[in-house]
Symmetry: none
Subunit: 258 residues, 2 copies
């Protein structure tokens, strides 16, 4: 992987954002795991899985942070860091998504009114769709400057799977969402779906940064900050909404779900 020199400001911006994302993931993990005991048995698994998503992300943010630090070094008397020769490994993000994106979809499905068969079919097709979206996206990530043809191709292919998942979340699962009687619970499930879709929409946009004429080192900085923000919304944000849904469902009389 080609590495780009960074100014002090650029280096620090990525470094601090990665650390912020790591802190958010760890804190959300602990909160969700502690609160998993507060919801009814049938929802515990959904809350534990929400915490697993941020747990897995926290692990990868430790790796990404360390990799960033190892790629640059400061010298006495020079303001900007220099390259160490060790490449910054962005593949950690894709390893992370391969595990967390199917789990994120499963945590949403687990709090919805789905019969066992529908749940089983939806979780399989959405899980496979998500894995294909990530694998096809990864190859293009290897190019961030020069000939960007393969990055465009991978983006296009990955977008097909992406649009299928968005369609399923917003349209395919509409009947199940509408079957929620309590308007507060229904609203929160819709919020989780919309937050997922909107925060996911930033990934293909971030992916396009190198094609939008942003120069190499700026593209790297913008990609890292963009992915961090998206990860915090889609993992911490959605996880906390999922917990609220399960908590609301647990405290209701629960005639429907008891």
């Amino acid at each position: 992987m080609v590495m780009y020199p960074m100014s002090d400001m650029q280096y620090q911006a990525v470094y601090n954002t990665l650390s912020f994302a790591l802190a958010s993931m760890m804190a959300t993990t602990m909160y969700l795991w502690f609160r998993s005991t507060a919801v009814r048995d049938q929802f515990k698994s959904a809350v534990i899985i929400s915490g697993l998503v941020t747990f897995i992300a926290a692990y990868h943010y430790i790796r990404i942070f360390n990799s960033w630090v190892e790629a640059y070094t400061y010298q006495v008397g020079k303001a900007d860091p220099e390259l160490t020769g060790t490449p910054f490994n962005d593949a950690y993000r894709y390893m992370d998504w391969l595990l967390t994106v199917p789990l994120l979809l499963i945590e949403i499905l687990l709090v919805m009114n789905l019969d066992e068969k529908t749940y089983s079919v939806k979780s399989k097709t959405l899980g496979v769709g998500a894995a294909l979206m990530i694998v096809t996206g990864y190859y293009g990530e290897l190019t961030v400057s020069g000939d960007l043809t393969s990055r465009w191709e991978c983006w296009g292919l990955s977008m097909c799977f992406f649009l299928y998942i968005v369609y399923e979340l917003l349209v395919g699962l509409k009947a199940a969402t509408d079957s929620e009687i309590d308007p507060t619970i229904k609203g929160k499930i819709q919020l989780a779906q919309v937050m997922t879709v909107i925060s996911w929409c930033t990934y293909p946009v971030v992916y396009l940064f190198p094609m939008l004429g942003i120069t190499a080192s700026n593209a790297v900085v913008a990609i890292q900050i963009g992915y961090c923000v998206s990860d915090i919304i889609s993992k911490c944000g959605v996880g906390l909404v999922i917990y609220q849904v399960t908590y609301a469902k647990s405290t209701k009389g629960g005639a429907l779900l008891g």
Copy 2:
């Protein structure tokens, strides 16, 4: 142990796969340990042991990952990493298997309908068989190029114990498997047995890679990725199926097992 130079791509492929396996082991451990509270008392041990298997594997993956990183170093201006002189220690895998393989067999036995005496005999013979399979396999692992005679001999010896365990899982335990009344539970126990056998079958195949004319550095890469995939299926995959068996048995009326 002889060390082989790696291209950047080869080095990164192993590095990312090891990290992915580590993340999978940690996440499965946490999920199984949290969910051990959701099953009936008599099955808690099986679920906790399933989590122990992935916990022990996570520890060894941290060691394997660090050993891989310490064996290679990048220099400014060179794309490919260079050898540091520190050997990559693959013995960690055998240390791991020596602990986890008997535990994996025990977690399967624990969820089956076995009387105390049969359980005691089977767990001892299978445990000893597994230990002998691993110890005999280890010696051959020290040779991956040049004269492969000792690798072949070790492979053959190890395969005898391997075939004994496969026979016990698929044939020796058949009566106990067939005694399950619930078809879903029976199906899941068979799934755990078949997943174990199939994922284990990849180990002797991966072991043969150096004999199949795959050149040294490619053999190392293929062995590492192959073992990671097998470990994820046989430890995370089987562990989650074992949890599903215990969960299904716990939520049934349980006249048989109460």
